[in-house]
Each structure stands twice: as C-alpha cells, then as structure tokens.
Amino acid sequence: MKKYMIVLAAIAIVLAATSGALASTLTPTVTATGTVIDTCNSPTNGTITFNIDPSGVATLTPQTTDAGNSSPSVKCTNGQTHAVACSSAHANKLTIGNDGITDPIVYTITGCATPLTGAGFTTATSITIGLSIPPANYQNAKIGAHSDIITVTVTY
C-alpha cells in the first residue's frame, strides 16, 4: 500500500510539471533611450541700412526689423535657451570705407542681451538686433557712407 502511494505522487508531479510548461510566456523587453542633443545650425546673416540726417535731435534706433532690413536667424533645438553675444568689427564705430578710422560714428548695440530659445530645426529663430546713436555722435559726422560689421554669436 505504501508503494502505491509513492507512484501516485510521482505521477502528480509529472503532470504538474507538464501543465506548467504549456502555460508559460516569454516577455523580453528592449530599452530604447534617445537623447536630443542641444545644438544649433543654419545661420543666416542680417542687414541694417539707414540714413542719417545730421539736423536731427533724436537718438537714432535702427533695427534689423525695420523695413528693408533683415534679421539674422539660426535654427536650434526646440525649447533650448542660448546666450547671444555681439561684437563689432571696429569697436562699435561706423566709419567711412569701413576702415575703423575715418570719421567714426560711435554706436551701441541693442538686443544682444536677450537669450534665444530654439524652435526646432524646421523653424529659424530670428534675432532682432538694433543700434542706438545719440545726436551728439552723428550731428557733425561727414557726409557719405559709414559702415561696420556686427558678428552675432549663439552659444549652445
């Protein structure tokens, strides 16, 4: 009688093992991790062209957004904020022949302190830059074309 019980127990164990194999599933996972890098590219240049009337008494404030001018732009990663810096080729002086010497008209650059927030790489973000020239700086300037080049740098 004792021997018979042992056989039954062995059968039960086998059945249990078999039924367990039929019901099991495998659910492997793959972890995908993507990092959108913070970057910028596609810079475009801008222009500021304007006339100076020396008889004026107001501070001149031409901007890249004025009619006929164009703002520089850049494409940067969406939502990322970047510092903007500006530098002049001739120490913030408009000069005849763009030589940095002849008849300088001193100006200050405005707009560079505003950080730039990227809008992704299908949308260029414009950077509005302006100049400020008080009357005393242009009333005695000589007639003719005065020029300078401003470099706008976006750091990412």
């Binding site: 810079p43 801008g46 006339n51 008889s55 850049v74 242009y138 009333q139 007639i143 005065h146 750091t155």
Partner: protein, 177 residues
C-alpha cells in the same frame, strides 16, 4: 536609525550628481553677421537770418568805395563736408541767381520807395566762400557757417546818388547742395 539616515544621505548625493551632469557646459557656437550701412545725408539749415543796419548811411563825399558790414551775418548749418553754393537775386537790380563769391555779385540795386526811378548800384559779397569760386563747406550741425555777407557801394554810385532816406533792396539767397 543610524543606518537609515546614512542611506538617505547617499541617495541625496546621487541625485545631486545627476543634476550636475545634466547641466552640461556649452559645447559649441554658431555665428552670423549683420552688415551695417549708414548714409550720412547732405542737408543744410539756416541758423541765423542775415540783416543790415537800418538805415545804412551812404556818404557821397567819400571818394572811395564804401563797404557795409551786416548787423547779423547769414549763417548756415550744413552736414560736415557738404559743399554748397549761394545764389543771389536782387529784387530791385538785375541780378538773378548769381553765384555769391568773395569778390561779390554786381547788378544789385537799392531803389527809392518814393522815387522808384532813383537807384544806387551796389555789390553783394560773400566772403565766407572757401575757394573764391562760391563754394562753401559745411562744418556739421553744431557749427554754424558764416556766409560773410557785406555790401559795397562803389564810389561812382555814391557820388551820383540822389538824396533819399528810403532806398532799399531785398536780397534772396538760394542755397544749393
């Protein structure tokens, strides 16, 4: 209790390090340029209206030309470097649009208001021209440029003039630049 506290401190340290890593330093930059062009305009504006003493006294006994200075010189403010000319016209003379120079414009005339047939010929001069050819150069808008106007009555005109106290003329100056 001591063990639990030390675990909490370690966890805080790990979080802090993670934040430092995510705040990565700038890795690059992109630059663009703005070309700035400004054109200084050539403009002029009257700073002071010229006038002569009223009256000026012409002495027919003086044997030489008589020159009269203005009570107020005509002055202009012009863009620095602007070269301009002054054209003179006389209401009572025949001078029309004559270039004013340091040597003067003739064909000017003072006419008696009460006796229009009586007139005195004179010369209108602009001594401020820079080259003797009627060219003036602006000195900027904080410096008024004097025209150096004056009137010269030739001795012959004065000596033959008929005495009146109502001689006058209106001189029109036209500035071209």
């Amino acid at each position: 209790m001591i063990k639990i506290l030390s675990i909490a401190v370690m966890a805080a340290t790990v979080i802090s390090m993670t934040e430092m890593v995510s705040a990565a330093p700038p890795s690059g930059f992109v630059s663009e340029t703005i070309v700035v062009n400004a054109q200084m305009a050539a403009v002029c504006q009257e700073a002071q209206h010229g006038s002569f003493p009223n009256p000026i006294t012409i002495d027919p006994l003086v044997g030489s030309d008589q020159t009269f200075s203005p009570a107020a010189d005509e002055t202009l403010k012009c863009s620095n470097g602007t070269v301009f000319t002054i054209k003179v016209s006389s209401a009572n003379g025949t001078a029309v649009g004559q270039t004013c120079t340091s040597s003067g414009v003739s064909s000017m005339a003072l006419k008696s208001a009460g006796t229009p047939g009586d007139s005195i010929a004179y010369t209108f001069m602009c001594a401020g021209d820079t080259d003797g050819a009627g060219h003036f150069t602006g000195a900027g808008y904080t410096t008024a440029k004097a025209m150096g106007i004056s009137i010269k009555v030739p001795a012959a005109s004065a000596q033959t003039a008929i005495a009146h106290t109502d001689y006058s003329d209106t001189v029109t100056l036209t500035i071209s630049y």
